[in-house]
């Protein structure tokens, strides 16, 4: 197991370096000089040259990259030239909101997806199975911004049950906080459950053909016990990987959902930075999100290896 972790970590390192390089290159090579952006109206050639010199923008690109990487490794991602806030501070302020949103969404997705998958697998090919599978397929064509609009229209505009936008911190008003999170999390969950359902259902169907399930049936165990106790755990392996793969989609979805529902998370920080051309924040947030994403995938890989010994010995 230790060898597996070391191997994966050694692979992670070049990926992370390449990610930082790509992030830096996107921010540096493309048009839109930072000095012009900062100076705005006062961008005379002299001012720009002076500022470029102060910021080190006149130095060769590989030198700037190394300097930037050095700062990043010391935890200094720079600060916004608009608000003066450091990147780390801005991210730390907003991270809890995004994490709460994604956790709630994943939980709701599992609550919808897992029972449906089990019931469908129990009677694969039946009427209920066909309806649910069809709905799941249809839901794959409903992006989050569509379901968000639909949910806002139903629950906020027509029924006045839930707020459409807004946020209170969890520490101030837990109930109010959850009320603000219901619609955004449900929006994301609507995009998550079809994937969960499809994967678990197909694994469950193959598990249910195993001999030990036949034995359990022959022993006269209750069908619900067979499904939930005997078949669920061995069938949930792929679900773990898919959850890992889906994190990227979840982050993208959270970005849109935060914007629509005005939740002050990482997504809104990023979009705000794009609209105000706050390039330092943008560069820092993209790097942190990508690094976090890589690490989460690493954790999912480890989890998968814990669950299935074949992976760590490379026989998968």
């Amino acid at each position: 197991m230790l060898g597996f972790i070391v191997r994966r970590l050694l692979y992670l390192l070049p990926v992370l370096v390449a990610v930082s390089l790509l992030t830096f290159l996107i921010a540096s090579l493309l048009p839109g000089d930072l000095a012009y952006v900062i100076l705005g109206d006062q961008a005379t050639p002299e001012n720009v040259a002076a500022l470029r010199h102060d910021m080190g923008l006149d130095q060769p690109i590989w030198w700037r990259y190394l300097g930037w990487l050095g700062h990043v490794l010391q935890g200094d991602f720079g600060r916004s030239f608009r608000t003066g806030q450091t990147v780390l501070q801005a991210v730390a302020d907003r991270l809890p909101v995004s994490i709460e949103l994604m956790l709630l969404a994943e939980i709701m997705g599992l609550i919808i997806g897992v029972p449906l998958a089990i019931v469908c697998a129990a009677r694969a090919g039946g009427a209920f199975d066909r309806i649910v599978t069809g709905t799941a397929f249809g839901m794959l064509s409903v992006p989050t911004f569509l379901s968000a609009i639909l949910l806002i229209y139903l629950f906020a505009v027509e029924l006045h049950l839930l707020p459409a936008t807004g946020y209170v911190p969890l520490s101030e008003d837990p109930i109010g906080n959850l009320r603000f999170f219901v619609l955004p999390a449900l929006t994301l969950a609507l995009a998550e459950w079809p994937g969960i359902m499809r994967v678990l259902r197909s694994d469950m169907i193959s598990t249910l053909q195993e001999d030990y399930i036949a034995l359990a049936k022959a022993k006269g165990l209750k069908p619900s016990r067979i499904l939930f106790v005997h078949a669920l755990k061995p069938s949930s392996l792929t679900l773990v990987t898919v959850t890992g793969i889906n994190i990227g989609r979840l982050i993208g979805g959270a970005l849109i959902v935060e914007t629509i529902f005005a939740l002050p998370g990482i997504g809104r920080l990023l979009i705000g930075a794009i609209f105000t051309r706050d390039l330092i924040i943008l560069q820092g947030v993209v790097l942190l999100v990508a690094a976090g994403f890589v690490m989460m995938n690493f954790v999912v890989d480890l989890l998968y290896a814990v669950l299935d010994p074949r992976i760590r010995h490379g026989h998968a």
């Binding site: 990926v15 990610v19 992030t23 064509s141 499809r198 793969i245 990508a290 994403f293």
Partner: protein, 290 residues
């Protein structure tokens, strides 16, 4: 959702239900809808439609009428004309971007799967770097720097699709390269080039084309999401995503302004998914009983 993780969950585990190889009625309805949207988008300039960008402040959010079949939007622009012109953008980006992924990703995947070794490590590794970014985040960051235009949008979404096409091509090549007809060609002394182009390409192309249609659906969704956020096509150009985004402002007074483009959007994405999925089931090399 709106990201470029193209149907990876389908690569894992057994095929869900035994799927019949016949293409059902739904398949042909989807083809019909696609053809209709295509024709409308293609011939939009020839159709007797009002301009999609002319504003009429006296006719804001007008209901359905003979002059404006689907009413007007918040700035008095003809909704039907905007819908049809929006289809042009969604389809143009949705079709051209996956071509980039298909060509580059397909070629890389075939080379990696055929030659193996260092080349494969390098290709797979560089794709991992691209996959290390949540796709929408990368697309947003690059559009922010490059500036908003239809060309930039197409290029970015195209590049983001490369890893997925690479995987499909590589997986198919790996399976096919062990088959008898390839071994026979090698034994006959065929060059690498001949084997790749004449033996492998025709067989790899089938799953790639099926995957291409799914790629179109994913790209249309991604374009819609970016335009919805106001970071896709620059206004006043109509795209379904930006129309839905603008319609959101008037959900309480005129919900149809969001729901009309949303419905067209949903049907189109669903059609591409349906057709792509059906073709994928038919062309999957693993199921080929030879």
């Amino acid at each position: 959702m709106a990201t470029l993780d193209l149907g990876m969950e389908d690569d894992i585990g057994a095929a869900p239900a035994p799927r019949s190889r016949q293409l059902g009625l739904l398949f042909w309805i989807a083809i019909g809808w696609m053809a209709l949207v295509f024709a409308l988008a293609l011939f939009a300039p020839l159709l007797p439609l009002p301009s999609p960008t002319d504003m009429d402040m006296l006719e804001r959010r007008a209901p359905f009428s003979a002059a404006h079949w689907l009413g007007t939007d918040g700035l008095g622009r003809d909704e039907l004309a905007r819908l049809i012109h929006g289809a042009r953008i969604s389809l143009a980006v949705g079709l051209f971007a996956p071509v980039i992924g298909l060509v580059i990703g397909g070629a890389l995947g075939m080379l990696a799967g055929y030659f193996r070794g260092r080349l494969e490590t390098l290709v797979v590794g560089s794709m991992d770097v691209l996959l290390a970014f949540p796709p929408l985040v990368l697309a947003l960051a690059v559009t922010a720097y490059l500036g908003q235009s239809i060309l930039n949008l197409t290029l970015i979404l195209g590049v983001l699709g490369i890893p997925a096409f690479m995987r499909v091509a590589r997986a198919a090549t790996l399976t096919l390269a062990r088959r008898e007809f390839v071994i026979a060609a090698e034994a006959l002394g065929a060059t690498h080039r001949r084997i790749l182009l004449r033996e492998l390409l025709p067989n790899v192309l089938l799953p790639l084309v099926a995957f291409f249609l799914l790629g179109v659906a994913v790209t249309i969704v991604a374009e819609g999401a970016l335009s919805f956020l106001g970071l896709g096509v620059p206004p006043p150009v109509a795209s379904w995503g930006s129309m839905i985004g603008e319609g959101r402002e008037s959900l309480d007074v005129a919900p149809r302004l969001a729901f009309l483009p949303a419905f067209a959007f949903f049907l189109t994405v669903l059609s591409f998914n349906l057709v792509g999925d059906s073709l994928k089931a038919v062309t999957d090399p693993r199921q080929g009983a030879l």
